[in-house]
């Protein structure tokens, strides 16, 4: 489980020694608000994610068939009638994927929210308060961390008879927050001695306000990327659980499709349409989320925010890349500029 965690430093905007005060520009800030969308990667991610959300909402209504309804065409390849072919019971795979989107998105997002909330609660509190509270909370997080998540989920879901999506999301959320809590704690530790935190304390702020209004906003990037990571993890977990046949809910999700496909040896039957699309659906969802993650990173951290283009043209027509250590020179070196100054004209 490697959740792409943003590094400690990268998210603290402009605190380095190279940080320069950006000059005041009233219109510029408004434009920066949309940096997020201007980032191409993030925009693509958002669009894909939007499509998924859309289908999560309308999927069951637009699905051409009842995903569980048996038909007469058994294991048929894609056709006009069944865009993604049929299963061994003649069910329409396309409808199954459409209908399954809701459960996946619901579980993924809910688990993401739960895990993120918990990780903030535990990570930030223990990082900020320190001392005994920290010891207890981080021991707690560590305990959850050392218990392998997937087996734990398997155990818990098997205790729960007939787990609903909400329960599964709860289980995934409750078992997968500890990694983020660790990251957040480390981050908080590095933030809490910052002058601006001390300063707001010196101003007389209450502790909860310092945590909520001074610390948290600075953790946005970590929290956001943690959230995205957890959502991916939750989706993969739900699908994994369904795939190995642990989860007992009755609806459709992509894991269920894969479970049936694998149980029926879809690939060995050359029924790729049954097995491949669900996996791709997951992969694209994950990719979309990671792309959004890029955007979040670059949105919050000015250092990652590319200042417009990274490639430029010199006077001689070459393209040069902006890079550290070798500032591009735009004037043509071949034709030396006259050493003479141009003389300003007097009116």
């Amino acid at each position: 489980m490697t959740i792409p965690t943003s590094s400690i430093e990268q998210v603290i905007p402009g605190q380095g020694s190279m940080a320069q005060p950006e000059e005041a520009h009233p219109t510029k800030r408004k434009r920066q608000r949309f940096t997020f969308v201007r980032n191409k990667k993030a925009a693509i991610g958002l669009v894909i994610f939007g499509v998924y959300v859309l289908f999560a909402i309308i999927g069951p209504w637009v699905a051409p068939y009842d995903p569980s309804a048996r038909g007469d065409d058994l294991v048929q390849p894609p056709s006009a009638g069944h865009w993604l072919g049929t299963t061994h019971l003649g069910q329409d795979v396309f409808s199954q994927i459409l209908v399954g989107t809701r459960s996946v998105m619901y579980v993924g997002l809910l688990a993401g929210v739960i895990a993120t909330a918990l990780s903030i609660l535990v990570g930030v509190t223990s990082g900020y308060l320190g001392g005994k509270t920290d010891d207890v909370l981080s021991a707690f997080a560590n305990v959850i961390l050392v218990i392998p998540a997937v087996p734990l989920m398997i155990i818990i879901t098997s205790i729960l008879n007939n787990a609903s999506d909400t329960l599964i999301a709860l289980v995934i959320g409750l078992t997968s927050w500890s990694w983020n809590a660790r990251v957040l704690r480390a981050q908080t530790l590095s933030l809490r001695r910052r002058d601006y935190i001390e300063a707001s304390r010196a101003t007389g702020e209450k502790t909860w306000r310092i945590i909520g209004f001074e610390l948290l906003p600075n953790l946005t990037a970590v929290i956001a990327s943690g959230f995205v990571g957890t959502v991916i993890f939750a989706v993969l977990s739900e699908i994994t659980l369904a795939f190995i046949g642990i989860v007992s809910n009755n609806g459709w999700n992509w894991g269920t499709i894969l479970f049936w496909a694998q149980g029926q040896q879809a690939l060995a039957q050359s029924a790729w349409w049954w097995f491949v699309p669900a996996g791709l659906a997951i992969a694209f969802l994950g990719t979309a989320l990671s792309l959004i993650n890029f955007g979040i990173d670059e949105f919050v951290s000015p250092r990652l925010r590319s200042a417009g283009k990274t490639k430029l043209k010199t006077a001689s027509g070459h393209t040069v890349r902006m890079r550290i250590g070798f500032t591009p020179v735009l004037s043509s070196a071949a034709a030396p500029t006259p050493v003479q100054r141009e003389v300003a004209k007097l009116p």
Partner: protein, 539 residues
């Protein structure tokens, strides 16, 4: 240079095909050659029957046929089946060279008798006596229904080895010494290799020089291995077997799945209203499309379709069907079901059936998620029941939860198996035995999960087990079947099979429909019969 390597000769052996590759989807194994331990690798892979032999062999495909003497040269049961006289074969030797004697046989049964952990079938042994090459076993009750379990399913072990073993139940029997034609060559967690004995076997030695057992992680790995020829013989459910297995090598890849006296069916919790009404259950029984289930859920072979209304499988069960039900077969009869329901006070309003009290009839079908054939079955049942307005939902609880619920009677309907045996007794006993009846909430481990209450059936089952004549048995069996058909406490669907998927590319001589001399599962005692019959292909 590599003479001391355990793999040296193997690499060469790979070229000439004098070995047979047997696979089972049972996951990793730890070394345990104890033939009595249910959890041993010897049991999971079935190779215990290549090392240890039983007294007799019986053919589950033809359960009414008499058993074949094996280590016993003759077996004589008393009429009341409370004792048996066994004459031990002369000429069999253990793989360490010692002679196999009646003492060994008596020792084996004494061992089981004195050790509950080894007494798998809970047989009430009484006396075990030896005289010469004869052994006499007596029992505290009639063992008619258990006769084959006692004689054909008990591996005989050498006394001189086992009497030195402190705890026979937990010993791993590192160096198995048996009377069978094979000895252990090597063990790894992924598999076992047996090699044929040089001499001393009481029959002709088999042609297969080496048996290579491989334990695959799961069904799909095993099925893949079968399809690509890595595995030549296994017992595993192969989805869409025609296409995924047979079609890969139509000339050699064969499936043979004869039904036996053990069935799978939909248990209905008879304490839940309105399913306590046998009429409703009968109507449901009438709309089940068993052919669809057979073809779509069981890949057209795995659980042979049950045709007889008595729930007895075709072939193995034919001999036991009561005269009144001979030739009576299931067929999908939706109209008939509707009429029956209407007559019994049910109403079909559009797509919803309501019971006489006016409540819509709904049923929850449940089975563990990983059992995909059961799951498919449930899906089909669901749409079948919808035809008469019963709204079914399919639940997929965790296997343990499901098992606990089924035992406690906390379910509405579930597809499950019955016990199997040499007579239909085991089937019906699992479903209807009033002695097993426990109140809802208390686990009933042995059977009667549907809480079916029928003093008639209970009495008949008891009478059958203790009968002393065939005539009496037939009479009781007919009574039992009548209750089963009329009350429909469980809706039979498919039979258990003792078949296999195999390849006759390298070895021929497998049992077939034409010559069903034994079952074909590689883990059962008769596997040895098959191995003994195999001949190199082309020879």
């Amino acid at each position: 240079a590599c003479g001391d390597s355990p793999n040296a000769n193997n690499a060469n052996a790979n070229k000439a095909v004098d070995f047979l590759k047997i696979g089972m989807p049972n996951g990793t194994q730890t070394e345990n050659h104890n033939p009595f331990a249910g959890t041993s690798s010897a049991n999971a892979l079935g190779y215990k029957w290549m090392i240890y032999e039983p007294l007799t062999q019986w053919n589950p495909v033809k359960p009414a046929d008499p058993a074949t003497p094996w280590l016993a040269s003759s077996v004589k049961w008393a009429d009341d089946y409370k004792s048996v006289d066994i004459t031990v074969r002369d000429g069999a030797t253990w793989s360490d060279g010692q002679k196999l004697t009646a003492d060994d046989v008596a020792y084996t049964y004494t061992l089981i008798k004195g050790n509950d952990a080894l007494n798998q079938y809970a047989v009430p042994y009484d006396q075990i006596t030896v005289s010469g090459s004869n052994v006499k076993l007596t029992f505290k009750s009639s063992q008619f229904v258990n006769q084959n379990k006692i004689l054909a399913n008990t591996p005989i072990v050498p006394k001189h080895v086992w009497e030195k073993i402190a705890d026979p139940a937990t010993d791993t029997n590192k160096n198995p010494v048996g009377s069978g034609p094979y000895t252990l060559k090597s063990f790894t967690q992924a598999g076992v290799t047996l090699t044929v004995r040089d001499s001393g076997y009481w029959q002709d030695l088999p042609k297969v020089k080496e048996l290579r057992y491989v334990s695959y992680a799961d069904n799909s790995a095993q099925a893949t291995a079968l399809a690509n020829g890595e595995s030549e013989w296994s017992f595993v459910f192969i989805p869409n077997a025609q296409q995924t297995f047979v079609a890969k090598d139509p000339a050699h890849h064969k499936l043979w799945a004869p039904g036996v006296l053990g069935i799978h069916g939909l248990y209905i919790n008879t304490t839940v209203k309105p399913f306590d009404d046998p009429k409703l259950r009968q109507a449901m029984n009438m709309v089940i499309n068993r052919t669809d289930i057979f073809n779509q859920a069981e890949a057209g072979y795995f659980h042979p379709e049950i045709k007889s209304v008595t729930g007895l499988p075709p072939g193995a069960g034919d001999a036991f069907i009561a005269p009144e039900y001979k030739g009576k077969e299931f067929s999908v009869d939706i109209e008939g079901a509707k009429t029956l329901l209407a007559k019994s006070g049910y109403q079909l309003n559009g797509k919803t059936l309501t019971d006489p009290s006016g409540k819509p009839v709904k049923i929850k079908l449940s089975d563990p998620a990983p059992w995909s054939d059961y799951q498919t079955t449930l899906e089909i049942l669901k749409s079948n029941f919808a035809e008469i307005g019963i709204e079914a939902t399919v639940e997929k609880p965790n296997q343990d939860v499901w098992d606990a619920n089924v035992q406690k009677g906390a379910f509405e309907a579930t597809v499950r198996w019955t016990n199997g045996g040499a007579t239909p007794y085991d089937i019906y006993q699992t479903v209807m035995d009033g002695d097993l009846l426990k109140p809802v909430g208390t686990a009933s481990q042995q059977g009667n999960f549907g809480r079916f209450k029928s003093p008639e059936a209970t009495a008949a089952l008891k009478a059958y087990a203790n009968a002393t004549s065939d005539a009496e048995r037939t009479e009781q069996m007919n009574k039992i079947q009548k209750v089963f058909v009329e009350q429909a406490p469980m809706l039979p669907i498919g039979a258990d099979n003792v078949g296999a998927a195999y390849s006759d590319k390298n070895w021929t001589g497998w049992p077939t429909d034409a010559d069903p001399y034994a079952g074909a599962q590689p883990t059962q005692p008769y596997a040895l019969q098959i191995v003994l019959k195999l001949r190199p292909a082309g020879a």
